[in-house]
Symmetry: C2
Subunit: 480 residues, 2 copies
């Protein structure tokens, strides 16, 4: 482990964070909300610390696998610590643990909040809150592309093996170009949603905050009643559409924007994701029709919004789905584990992993009947690298294992059964609202400080897809 290089890189990232902390400053001036000092001071503290690390630790630039893991994980921790400063310094959040919870929830695009009255915060602080989502969503993609190929796991490996085009064979020699292309798509979609939301009556500030939270599949709103506060069918449908788009592999968006619709449509994960979205919406519509909603149109609006919001792990709300029937609630709980597509900003286990797990099980059944036949799991017609398959199987086992253990810990902090399990499902999957006492009209304020730290760790594990974080606590990681 080259600790000096790790700290130097973290320093560079903190300087970058300092810059982003100044973005809400002009809004603070405009609104005169009194948070300007907090923002500028936070930016200075972050940048000065960063500069100290960057210039204090000189080192070669030979980034090995190990430093990659350490930098990524620690960067997320540092961002959540320094990103929490505006909340604390502006007096918006009193307790440091709460502020770190909120910031980690932002960067990991979870959207779980400890705030009981969101609307009482300065507007510029709420913009910073939405911006953490956007940076986290974007950051994960950049990090995926920049870091994951060295890690040998997850999105990038899956991209390389299975997605044709700019992210596939020609990816390695120009990884930064790829990152820029995806970044461009992300900015473009955010701009389009902002405009569409303004056409629906939102002002620029609110449109921007909600577009940030949508494209990052985050879920933080500027309103206590989330998207439901606007009471507009048009806005609901715009957000539903862009949540869905944010849950799609962004390299497919690039294909589609280049006019290669057919190539994008050939992707099996996209079809499966669309199928789950339509299927889940249908079940919710059937469960709600006549029971919760009399009008089919209204039913479709709320059911589709909630299905997409939970499946993509965004977590926006337009209604209290805990008033829905048990089957609707259980379906939403299951969607929390699925998540978006690989290479999207969504969390959860991801559609592709579940698709490949299903196929792995099919292959096992096939082998029972034909023990001597060799059959590999395939994706979009291509055989999946067995090492990728092993990694997915390990990921699934760890995901379920962490869910089980963390749920027991949360129950030990005093939560009831449903709240304990759902608080973990909602943070590990980066969704936000769960069920029980952390449901769509509740928040996480009532959880103990220890419990909040456990959930903060769950958010980090979920967002960095477990391995990247867990490898740091693996004994041989620190050995020469």
């Amino acid at each position: 482990m080259n600790i000096r290089l790790t700290l130097r890189l973290l320093g560079a990232l903190l300087i970058f964070l300092g810059g982003t902390l100044l973005v809400p400053a002009p809004f603070s001036l405009w609104f005169g909300d009194g948070a300007l000092g907090a923002l500028v001071l936070s930016a200075l503290l972050s940048a000065i610390t960063g500069a100290g690390l960057f210039f204090g630790f000189r080192s070669g630039n030979d980034l090995s696998l190990r430093e990659g893991f350490a930098v990524v994980t620690l960067a997320w921790v540092f961002f959540s610590l320094f990103g929490a400063l505006p909340f604390l310094l502006s007096g918006s959040i009193a307790h440091p643990v709460d502020a770190v919870f909120e910031t980690m929830s932002g960067f990991t695009t979870t959207g779980a909040t400890i705030l009981t009255d969101i609307e009482s915060l300065p507007q510029s602080i709420l913009l910073w809150r939405a911006l953490t989502h956007w940076l986290g969503g974007m950051g994960i993609i950049v990090l995926s592309l920049a870091i994951l190929p060295m890690l040998g796991i997850g999105g990038m490996q899956l991209f390389k093996a299975e997605v044709p085009g700019p992210t596939a064979d020609r990816l390695k020699p120009r990884i930064q170009d790829t990152a820029k292309l995806l970044w461009g798509v992300y900015v473009l979609l955010t701009m389009v949603e902002t405009l569409l939301l303004m056409l629906g009556g939102m002002n620029l500030y609110e449109a921007l905050c909600h577009a940030f939270a949508t494209l990052a599949t985050g879920g933080f709103s500027t309103r206590n009643a989330s998207v439901g506060a606007f009471g507009s069918g048009y806005i609901d449908w715009v957000v539903t559409l862009f949540m869905f788009l944010a849950g799609v592999n962004f390299s497919l968006h690039y294909h589609a924007l280049r006019g290669r619709w057919r190539d994008a449509w050939k992707n099996e994960e996209l079809r499966c994701y669309l199928g789950i979205t339509l299927g889940a919406t249908l079940v919710l519509v059937l469960a709600n029709q006549g029971r919760v909603y009399a009008s089919l149109f209204e039913n479709l609006r709320y059911s589709a919004f909630q299905a997409v919001s939970i499946l993509t792990t965004t977590g926006f709300g337009t209604t209290d789905f805990e008033q829905w029937s048990p089957v609707a609630q259980l379906l939403l709980a299951l969607l929390m584990f699925i998540g978006g597509c690989a290479g999207s900003t969504g969390g959860g286990i991801k559609v592709m992993r579940l698709l490949l797990l299903f196929r792995h099980a099919q292959v096992q059944l096939f082998r029972l009947i034909h023990p001597r036949a060799v059959r590999l799991v395939k994706f979009s017609g291509q055989p999946v690298n067995p090492e990728v398959m092993q990694s997915i199987l390990g990921f699934f086992a760890l995901y379920i294992g962490i869910f089980a253990i963390a749920s027991a810990i949360m129950a030990a902090t005093g939560l009831d059964l449903v709240s304990a399990a759902m608080s973990v499902a909602a943070t590990l999957g980066n969704i936000g609202p769960g069920l029980g006492s952390v449901g769509p009209v509740d928040n996480y304020a009532h959880i103990t400080a220890f419990g909040k730290l456990v959930l903060t760790l769950c958010m980090l594990l979920g967002r960095l897809e477990i391995f990247t974080v867990l490898v740091l606590v693996f004994p041989t990681f620190w050995r020469k």
Copy 2:
């Protein structure tokens, strides 16, 4: 698929079932409980149908893989249909779906009941109910040994690779000898427990019924209040001990009985199983001390009983654990997924599978740091066959997948969230009582007929370890 041979073998098994249906007959005469006619008629119907199949379909004896799966799965279905006859013909259970549910629950050693007043049934019918447990527990081991080596999955494969002694290298040439040895251990342990329970004040009938249900890790009692009805610390501890023993790999019992304690103790699964048992008991004791129980001795008695009862998937009760704290309840819910050791009569995912899943995840983490290193998952110092590992990973994915989907279906039948999930966990894991409306002091009577059939299928899937059943619905299974 040789349908004729399959039906012929099923015929032979039904004749055998007819014989076992006569076992409770002398007890019926002794008690004069009026169920003699029902038992004899059931035996005749089973034996005549069996004879019709056996003599009606002549065929070679060349049992292929496919017939193996079909015979095993259909045998369990047929046993549950014909085994339900005494309940129906004696008027003990009115509805056929209820009777099949109860019988499948018996044979699969689940122990979930639809009876609201167990003590109102004729004693001989309750003995038959306990006997289905014993046959199922024993049957699974015999079936494991006789069928699984051809199937290439589960217990037998694990035995062959990891357990030294009579079940390992010399197993194949004399599989029936091995089955007889294990059967002998099973009978011996049942006899010892029966005697010990009689020393505690039970009569022969009750001691036999409870010993049957304990060694099979079943959980059916002759009393409405289960084992708690006897209110005896001595009986609680005897049952706790024998539940624990029933959850151990039976080939290790054989080693121990032959004096090879060290060999048995070297088995990593046994140590892990013991560790989980002690750890779970400790957590329950800590959660209950002062809160539910004032006396440590009393606390230990109830906590150990419940931990072992749920972990081994027996499901006996001595107290209403839904009155315990959320962390205790969540722990019990997690234990439902673990289950006993491979090669035991316990259900669930099994300790060995979870141990190997954990090691697989460890290997994946190791490979992140050392991408070029080759490292296999090991068990008791020996590398695990990668194909066995693939099968375990597939099993785990299917287990969680079936749990998720069946829970949603149960919620659709009108159960609340906790009851829906726990009814599936308790039947898929062959435990019996769950939480919510299927808790330790409740029963399954209130569930819809459709819901009962879904849970009946879950019991079958859990008991035959998924693959054996699922392969029958796999399209290529039926192709030439």
